[in-house]
């Protein structure tokens, strides 16, 4: 059986301590700049905060993974190199990378440090994964959320590194690291700036009939009746019309959360080494609830007991959840 490590989000030092205390085997976090894919206002770490957090985690037997998983635009690569140097100096346990230039820099400048391939690299075949393993010494791949469990099992047989999969949280629809939807509407890039549907561009408009529309940079992404709870305007979860869908429909996906808690035993059996919980933008109480519940579930499964995951349902976006691509090819 694999280790079934629990990899938990840490958007702030307080969330990091919460996740560690709730039983995280490892936490992942980033600096307060474009070097990571959750470059949101009020989130992330200064170097001093990271230093203290690494000490806190290590004293309690937890690892700290530093996300450097965006793509530096030409002329700005030094920011990513400095972030890697700082992370190495502070003793982070691994770097989560996507850009080949960044991976190459860390492999050469900090030999012996551990590289994880970010989901932002979108490596979804054994060949793509092996490219990064053989060239940069990648030790773990975070798989895109597009594969079924039998497919993960097959990939496991053909790659020389560990597998990490998302199990809970936001359900990314587009291939990560290949999405410019936010930049198209807002001028801020997910790949280069670490920004996705930024709050600064969000507006909720109340209409005369009591309905509400959610907008991103002036584009209506969804609308809600007076009795509905308005969701956050993420472009790939928006409602649009097409010529034969004049009533409007969720062209990509409904606002829905990923929840693979029921599939945990199958994922462990398929050879997944680590489970990732999405949500660096989430509150401390969310992190505490999700991490402790999954800690219990993983421990139960490893001890051969039935896991109780009912509490997790209440934490999912709008109470709706999906097993996404993991359960069936029909998702595609």
């Amino acid at each position: 059986m694999s280790l079934a490590e629990l990899i938990c989000p840490a958007g702030t030092p307080a969330a990091l301590r919460t996740a560690v205390d709730a039983g995280a085997d490892a936490v992942y976090c980033g600096f307060q700049d474009a070097t990571n894919a959750r470059n949101f206002p009020g989130l992330n770490f200064t170097p001093d905060e990271l230093a203290a957090s690494v000490v806190y985690a290590h004293e309690r037997g937890a690892k700290v993974l530093l996300a450097l998983n965006t793509y530096p635009p030409a002329g700005k690569v030094d920011l990513w190199r400095q972030a890697a140097d700082t992370g190495a100096r502070l003793g982070v346990d691994a770097f989560i990378v996507a850009d080949m230039g960044v991976a190459d820099y860390i492999a050469r400048s900090h030999p012996g440090s551990r590289l994880h391939l970010s989901v932002q690299a979108a490596a979804s075949s054994p060949e793509a994964i092996r490219y990064y393993c053989e060239n940069f010494g990648v030790k773990r791949v975070v798989l895109p959320r597009i594969l079924t469990i039998p497919e993960i099992r097959e990939i496991r047989k053909e790659i020389p590194c560990e597998i990490e999969t998302f199990i809970f949280g936001n359900h990314g629809l587009m291939v990560e690291g290949r999405c410019s939807l936010t930049n198209y509407l807002t001028g801020q890039s997910t790949n280069m700036d670490g920004v996705c549907s930024p709050a600064s561009d969000v507006e909720y408009k109340r209409h005369e009939d009591g309905s509400m529309s959610s907008q991103l940079a002036g584009f209506t992404i969804d609308c809600f009746g007076s009795d509905e709870k308005a969701g956050y305007p993420t472009i790939c979860k928006g409602r649009y019309t097409a010529s034969h869908r004049p009533e409007g429909y969720y062209a990509f996906e409904e606002p829905i959360s990923l929840n693979l808690s029921r599939l945990l035993p199958d994922l462990i059996d398929a050879g997944v080494h680590a489970f990732k919980i999405e949500g660096r933008q989430r509150s401390k109480s969310y992190v505490r609830g999700v991490v402790s519940t999954f800690r219990q579930a993983v421990d139960d499964i490893r001890a051969g007991r039935a896991a109780n995951i009912a509490d997790l349902v209440a934490l999912t976006e709008g109470q709706k959840q999906t097993q996404g691509a993991f359960e069936t090819k029909k998702w595609r």
Binding site: Y71, P72, P73, A74, G75, K76, V77, D99, M100, G101, V102, D104, Y105, A121, S124, S125, E127, A128, R130, Y131, Y132, N135, P144, I146, L147, E151, L173, M174, V175, G177, R178, C179, S180, L181, N183, Y184, L185, T186, G187, S189, N191, M192, S213, F219, T220, I221, D222, G238, Y240, T241, A242, H244, R245, A251, F252, E253, A325, K329, W331, R332
Partner: protein
């Protein structure tokens, strides 16, 4: 416009599911009439479509080469299924140096043999371009969302390494790809039983906001911009920075005429204003955009005066 005889005009791979007959006619005209130097062929978006037209490839290649064009074969952007892995490995095993790779699986299969880096490979910066060049890349197409200053630095770095460096200057921009087919979803189907409904939308399936504003186009697993990116006004600046190749993406309009307008503008046989007006006429009601280049929202059209 700062003219350079070195600047090559290229035609990117057809993103849509055009029928075999449409493709044959399209490339026959391109071969005979379009002033483009290089043509990228092959299915980049959906592996299910390839069997419909790959049988015509040898004849198309021969036809285009007879017309004086360099032909490059492009690989799939998404590689996950067995048939996609095999298609990628088969392409990478070809002797020709002129293949364009769009997925790391292709890089793995190609090894250090010469190849081009496609726009889906995320060659955003000089460090990545240097890495790719050391692995055998001879040419790199930059991501379409890169702003002008980054393009300039990347172009200089690529030129120093002896690489060709390309940007898309015309056509809808690829904004996202997915494992899920949104054409099939729109028709209540899944990817496995799609019945190739994407064939109905030769220029992508329009999506509008619920208050009726055009926003995106669906092309199978790909999401594209509603607007056609048009960087003709910016082309001179890019050429001065070292860009060697300008890419036109095939849309369901008169692409021979589009190529002619761009060639004329590059050769200064037609003034920029006249060329822009001609291009406008060729594109019907489709909006133009250049926001990415100017570091603004991609859908925006920044006026030339403000662009300097």
């Amino acid at each position: 416009m700062a003219v350079s005889d070195m600047t090559k005009l290229t035609l990117g791979p057809i993103a849509y599911h055009w029928s075999a007959e449409t493709r044959r006619d399209f490339y026959a005209r391109i071969a005979d009439e379009a002033p483009v130097d290089e043509v990228y062929l092959g299915e980049v978006i959906c592996s299910k479509r390839a069997p419909f037209h790959e049988g015509d490839l040898p004849a198309t290649i021969e036809r285009l080469e007879r017309g004086g064009k360099t032909v490059i074969l492009s690989s799939l952007a998404e590689v996950m299924l067995k048939r996609e892995r095999k298609a990628t490995a088969d392409l990478a095993s070809m002797d020709s140096p002129e293949i364009e790779i769009n997925n790391a699986a292709g890089l793995f299969a190609r090894g250090k043999r010469p190849h081009r880096i496609g726009p889906f490979m995320n060659a955003y910066n000089e460090a990545t371009i240097a890495w790719m060049a050391a692995q055998g890349a001879t040419h790199v197409c930059l991501p379409a969302e890169m702003p002008g200053p980054a393009i300039a630095v990347a172009a200089a770095a690529a030129r120093d390494l002896g690489l060709g460096v390309e940007v898309q200057v015309f056509g809808r921009v690829s904004l996202a790809v997915s494992a899920r087919c949104y054409h099939a979803r729109a028709h209540g189907r899944t990817k496995d039983n799609c019945q190739f409904v994407c064939e109905e939308d030769a220029d992508g399936m329009p999506l509008r906001t619920t208050d009726d504003r055009p926003i995106l186009r669906v092309n199978g697993i790909q999401t594209q911009s509603e607007s056609y990116m048009d960087l003709m006004p910016e082309a001179g600046q890019m050429i001065a920075c070292g860009i060697t190749h300008l890419r036109l993406m095939p849309q369901a309009i008169d692409m021979v005429a589009v190529a002619t307008v761009f060639r004329d503008a590059l050769d200064s046989t037609r003034g920029l204003d006249a060329a822009e007006a001609a291009l406008r006429e060729l594109c019907g009601g489709t909006s133009f955009s250049n926001g990415f280049y100017h570091g603004q929202a991609g859908y925006r059209r920044i006026a030339a005066a403000a662009a300097v």
